[in-house]
């Protein structure tokens, strides 16, 4: 599961099917968010949120996630500064 989402989001930039799967994964959260507004506007909100999600997912910088060793180096550096 952990790896699946990672790959799906990476793929979403070029593959619409992957993008759709990611959006579907967030469907429960989206439904919950709809209660923030009155019943008449919920359909509009759902559409709005999906639109936002598309841009968030496709523009998410997957490679900006720091790696295991990167975090280790950072803590090492911070420790050195402390001394």
């Amino acid at each position: 599961m952990t790896n699946r989402l990672y790959d799906l989001v990476k793929e979403s930039r070029s593959n619409n099917e992957a993008l759709e799967t990611v959006i579907e994964l967030f469907e429960p959260k989206l439904k919950k968010s709809l209660y923030m507004t009155n019943p008449n506007d919920r359909e509009d909100l759902a559409q709005e949120l999906k639109l936002k999600m598309i841009s968030y997912i496709t523009e998410y910088d997957v490679d900006a996630i720091p790696g295991f060793w990167e975090i280790k180096e950072k803590t090492d550096k911070a420790r050195k500064k402390g001394y």
């Binding site: 952990t2 507004t37 506007d41 709005e48 999600m53 997957v62 996630i65 790696g67 420790r79």
Partner: protein, 204 residues
């Protein structure tokens, strides 16, 4: 060899106390599979092992960051949307919802209905014949074949939502006879469907 490996691990743990107490690293290593990979990498720090660990960690960290990012942005976007919608509806009131001039607190919608009128829209649509509520042609035919009393019982039961006991009280009959009539009517409808419905619905 065993003790050498163990020493390597202990040394790493000693040198990187701060790093290992980082919450995200801690929760990553609390997974059995990840911890095994971590041990392998410390003992055999090959490039391949290091990269594999790095990849696993990135996917793990990404999963957490991405989900919380999307969840909070969904929430804040929803809040923002609602705020805008409220602002819009308060600035551009529907005529019907705006207040009548010179009369504080009274809106136009309150003036539309005439409370003294004898015609009530809800009552206009109420019919005391169950046949008026039926859209299905076969069911309509079936109901037409029932006796007046049977139709009356069905109307009270399904349109009025009464129980057999309540219907009995209303019609001055015993509950048993009402429930018999009710059952008989349903059976009659069922029989009609068995006869006529078959050829009509088989085409679907």
């Amino acid at each position: 060899m065993e003790s050498q490996e163990w020493n390597k691990l202990e040394e790493f743990k000693k040198c990187n106390k701060e790093f290992l107490s980082n919450p995200i690293i801690k929760s990553f290593l609390s997974n059995q599979e990840n911890y095994q990979l971590f041990l392998d990498t410390i003992v055999h720090p090959t490039v391949e092992n290091r990269n594999k660990l790095d990849r696993m960690f990135k996917a793990f960290y990404f999963h957490i960051r991405f989900i919380s990012f999307i969840s909070t942005s969904l929430y804040f976007n929803a809040v923002h949307f609602d705020k805008k919608q409220r602002q819009h509806s308060s600035r551009y009131l529907l005529t019907i919802d705006s207040t009548v001039q010179n009369e504080e607190g009274i809106t136009f919608i309150e003036l539309i209905q005439d409370p003294e009128s004898e015609i009530v829209p809800d009552k206009l649509s109420i019919s005391d014949d169950i046949a008026d509520y039926i859209g299905d042609p076969v069911l309509y035919e079936a109901v037409q074949e029932l006796s007046v009393k049977q139709r009356e019982v069905l109307t009270l039961a399904y349109i009025g939502g009464l129980t057999d006991t309540e219907i009995a009280k209303l019609l001055n009959k015993s509950q048993q006879s009402v429930s018999k009539m009710h059952k008989k009517a349903l059976r009659k409808i069922q029989d009609h469907f068995k006869k006529k419905g078959k050829d009509k619905y088989e085409s679907y």
